[in-house]
Amino acid sequence: MLDYIWLIVVMPLLGFLINGLFGKKFPRAMVSLIACGTVLVSFIMSVIALFELLQLDPHHRYHEIYSLFKWIPSGALNVEIGFLFDPLSAVMALVVSGVGFLIHVYSIGYMSHDKDYSRFFTYMNLFTGSMLLLVLANNFLLLFVGWEGVGLCSYLLIGFWYTRQSAANAGMKAFIVNRIGDFGFLLGMMLIFWTFGSLNFHEVFNSAFGFFHSMHGTGGEEVVLKDVLGLGMGTFTLITIFLFIGATGKSAQIPLYVWLPDAMEGPTPVSALIHAATMVTAGVYMVARCNVLYLLAPDTLMLVAIIGAATAFFAATMGVAQNDIKRVLAYSTVSQLGYMFLACGVAAFGAGIFHLMTHAFFKALLFLAAGSVIHGMSEIQDMRRMGGLKSKMPATFITMLLATLAISGIPLFSGFFSKDEILWKSFSSDYGGIVFWIIGLVTAGITAFYMFRLIYLTFYGKNRAPEDVQHNIHESPKSMTVPLMILAFLAVVGGWVGIPPALGGGAWFEHFLHPVFAQGEEIMAHGHHPEGFTMEYILMAASVVLVLISIFVAYTLYRKKPEIAANLREKFSGLHKVVYNKYFVDEFYQGAVVKPLVGLSFFLWKVFDVVVIDGLANGLAYMIKSFSSGGRKIQTGFLRNYLLIFVLGVVVFLAYVVLR
């Protein structure tokens, strides 16, 4: 039972191999059949696996294939190729393969005109396989394989239209910034190995949990870990910070978020799948997976919450000033990921994963709908040239509106429940505080504002595109709109699995995930919690009211009286410029890191290598040469000179002998 879960990973990889090797010779229908088919099989297997999991007693909902085969055996290090399936991986696998499948289908239509059709699906399958490996791996190193694998696919797919210089640049930037994060992850794994003697999740978390108990003398057998660096409990802080550096890279958090907006150079289905729904959430998944370690390092938790809240807020403000429809969504993604980390930081891992799931639905939908808009507008992405698409693209409009309502947190839509859960936890958790709640609340308001700005600019008013484009505006084909509708359905109802008790729900989702976080909860500090739901109701009402006000402001500025928006922009042109240019962070990195590094490298090469080292070597050679050429002059070839020296020599010798 459940021993087939590794096949979930293998299926898309199979599609990758087949299409990668022979895809060029296949007809397009065959390529798409293989690509979509393999992902669909993975999805079906994930669904079956979920049901099998649900049959089990909640505390035994954990299945591990410890080892398919040994991967890296060396001394005490023994890394296995193994898989695990528990509620957390189940959720992730379903989201990845489910949303992934819909986006594959959507791509059939979206990429139909592209000449590199098979290459696109080859990369997409490789991505899906890597992402599934990431979420189903049973140890850190195998997770890391998926982790770097998705990074590779992200690189390949961002730069998919490689003849565009900007696309090639963006791909490279994504990979390198991710590598900086991976550097942290790598160090984290090494410290874990030397501390725990293993990289297997179960073994590491059990040791950490057991260590916690033996530390407090609360039962269980004595667990002693190795203090490699002599940091004591600081070891946990360091491990979790290292891992979190990895998460900031992959999940585009401050300070490593800069690659994600540029990643929009890739085809839109890529932005939907990789840069919204799945890959960028890997960091959240990883932190949630390591909840035991993070709870043993409360300082890191604080850091995670601060980074999450700060990212959520700043990215949202940057989203307000963007004109490219995909860039608005990109900043929105960064901001929403910040929410998820805020949840993790206040030890509400379940809420983070809940938001991860609903976000996957509505953000994938937003991107795909944006793609549909771009498709219909002959590749125009600038919202200033859009408008009035409501009647021309009704299916796209309605689905996108639903997603917007969801992300804005309008009651009953999926985003409402997950976002509200995070806001509530950031207020009430012992790791939270009112500051986090306020930042979260304000961000929610800004989110509603920029999303409705997008809706009004795109779908309402008059169309501002050139004539020839206007004539061509059309609704997208079925292969694109049907996935939109399915996702729209999920974006609406996806949150209903987690309706909180305050609203009469059973928080089923939280209970489902509970076994994964059970050990962590025992470690968690337990303070006093307010009785009843009064406070929760008040906070909920506050956020709903703020969101409605924001929508009204957006309505006034971008629908009713656009001149006010223009006025405001002029009045605060300085501020607008700063926000529009994303606070000049890219420029700062370019000036403070990239340029000095390249300059240093040139210096090392041209000065140190060529002048200093080679200068020494050549100088030595020159010295020997000049010494020898001096010596050579003695060899004149004239017999009389040799005779003279011979006689002198004899005289000196005799003198020495005689005078001794």
């Binding site: 060396s74 394989v145 210089q165 160090l187 033996s214 407090h216 190795k226």
Partner: protein, 523 residues
């Protein structure tokens, strides 16, 4: 057969030399076929050794031992253990593919070229199988001559400068090593050159003597590796060398340096090694970062790859200083990896050079469009070079860094920055060569790879993923030999073995006073 197989393996290329000698100068196809066949058989022979190799045995196998110059106690003694096994196979693998890759690239004086390659192969194999220090030194020097000709005759425009620099740097090290060898020989009584016996003798020497000897040997090897700051001969030699020369140079010759440390410096002078560990680690880490940074700003693809070698070889040296299983095994594996990945990179660069007669990055751009298959090979190999998981480079680098982290976390952290920098220089180069618009007319009509070129590259791709996904094939046979080496060395050094001696976590209990009790280390 078992006792003579190493001799056959080593001298089979000489048979090829004789056959080629008998062939007419103009009969190019015959010359190529002979060279191909001989190196292929050599490769198959090395696989025979692998299949008959006993992984449980830590000492030398396939040993063959006869007196050579008995007056001085010099023997013809060959043997192979888990450390040299893979280097021998790497040599025959690359030797075979190097001949193959020269199929169309070399037309001028082909006979001499193939003869040089074959003699070179005998020299390299001899170095790895010698169990006699004198024999080792003979092979070590023999190998220089064909390399000298390969660069000096078939090289690029600045071949004379490059080849003289290469020979002078190497000779400088070799001479000091010779002095050290003779010192050991006479000091030990002047009866034997056997490496095993001399090792037993050397470990008893006082530390101060060991230090001098280590330095003399170590300099020769450090130049060969090359370690920073002795690396400047390498880029020149690589840029000027013909493709096959670069492949062999990077793939095998550099490994002789690291092999020298493993076989001589570390086991013979363990106490000196302990003293030198900080210096070696620092130079290794500098090499990693320095090589990567300088690689980043190169304008010629080949010198970029050459500098990346400096960086990668730094990783190998760093792993050796860890003196634990992960570090050592990682280093040995990384020797293979570097040979495979860098060898493949040089071949790939050679293929575009044959078409465009330039390797300057600025001359390219958008080549993916005209040569998609070549580009795909290029990307895969580049990714293995930057250590993407499930490729060979990752396993090696991860083991090295993990091993190092256990004994010297700071060096591991600094070394790990090389992982970021590798991505920078490789991907930046890839971007400038392969991506963007096809702007130059010369690049628009490039023909993609021919069948034989694909056939040459496929073995590399197979090895890249094999080592990346199932490294046990490679780690297991070397395991006992490495264990023995570590065991022998740690007898003499107070090296802290973290696996057994690290401070245990003292549980901190906020409610009770802290206890001093150390519980058993969990494992």
């Amino acid at each position: 057969m078992d006792s003579s197989i190493l001799t056959i393996l080593t001298f089979l290329p000489i048979l090829g030399v004789i056959l080629i000698w008998l062939t007419g100068k103009e009969n190019h196809s015959m010359i190529k076929i002979i060279a191909w066949a001989v190196t292929f058989i050599d490769f198959v022979l090395s696989l025979y050794i692998y299949f008959n190799f006993d992984a449980a045995e830590s000492g030398f196998q396939f040993v063959y031992n006869v007196p050579w110059i008995s007056h001085f106690g010099i023997q013809y003694a060959v043997g192979i253990d888990g450390i040299s096994l893979w280097l021998v196979i790497l040599t025959t693998f690359l030797g075979w593919l190097a001949v193959w890759s020269s199929w169309t690239a070399v037309k001028d004086r082909l006979k001499g070229y193939m003869v040089s390659l074959l003699i070179l192969q005998t020299g390299m194999l001899g170095v790895f199988v010698s169990m006699d220090l004198f024999l080792f030194y003979v092979f070590w020097e023999v190998m220089l001559i064909p390399m000298y000709f390969l660069i000096g005759i078939w090289g690029g425009p600045r071949k004379i400068y490059a080849t003289i620099k290469f020979v002078l740097f190497t000779m400088l090290g070799s001479l000091l090593m010779l002095v050290a060898i003779l010192f050991i020989y006479f000091k030990s009584g002047g009866t034997t050159f056997s490496i095993l016996e001399l090792t037993r003798f050397c470990v008893t020497l006082p530390v101060s003597t060991q230090m001098w000897l280590f330095a003399a040997f170590g300099l020769a090897f450090a130049i060969k590796v090359p370690m920073f700051p002795f690396h400047t001969w390498l880029p020149d030699a690589h840029v000027q060398a013909p493709t096959a020369g670069s492949v062999i140079l990077a793939g095998v010759l550099l490994k002789m340096g690291t092999y020298g440390f493993l076989r001589f410096c570390i086991p013979m002078f363990p106490q000196a090694f302990e003293q030198f560990i900080p210096a070696i680690s620092v130079l290794a880490v500098i090499g990693i970062i320095y090589g990567a940074l300088v690689a980043m700003v190169q304008k010629d693809v080949k010198s970029l790859v050459a500098f990346s070698s400096v960086s990668h070889m730094g990783f190998i040296m760093l792993g050796l200083t860890a003196l634990n299983m992960q570090g050592m095994q990682g280093s040995i594996l990384q020797m293979l990896n570097h040979g495979i990945s860098t060898g493949a990179l040089f071949m790939i660069v050679g293929m575009i050079y044959e078409r465009r007669h330039t390797r300057m990055i600025a001359e390219f751009g958008g080549v993916f469009k005209s040569m998609p298959i070549w580009s795909t090979f290029f990307i895969i190999v580049a990714l293995s070079s930057i250590g993407l998981p499930f490729t060979n480079g990752f396993v090696g680098e991860f083991l090295i860094l993990t091993g190092t982290f256990g004994v010297a976390p700071v060096y591991a952290i600094l070394g790990a920055t090389g992982v970021i920098l590798a991505a920078c220089y490789m991907l930046w180069m890839i971007k400038r060569v392969l991506f963007g618009e096809l702007t130059k007319d010369e690049n628009k009509n490039l023909t993609d790879l021919k069948l034989f070129e694909k056939l040459v590259l496929v073995p590399f791709i197979i090895m890249i993923f094999w080592i990346g996904i199932y490294p046990s094939t490679f780690l297991n046979p070397m395991k006992t030999s490495v264990e023995k080496l570590i065991g022998d060395v740690t007898k003499y050094v107070k090296h802290t073995d973290i696996e057994n001696e690290a401070e245990a976590f003292i549980p901190y209990n906020p409610h009770e006073p802290q206890t001093e009790e150390h519980a058993d280390v969990r494992h």
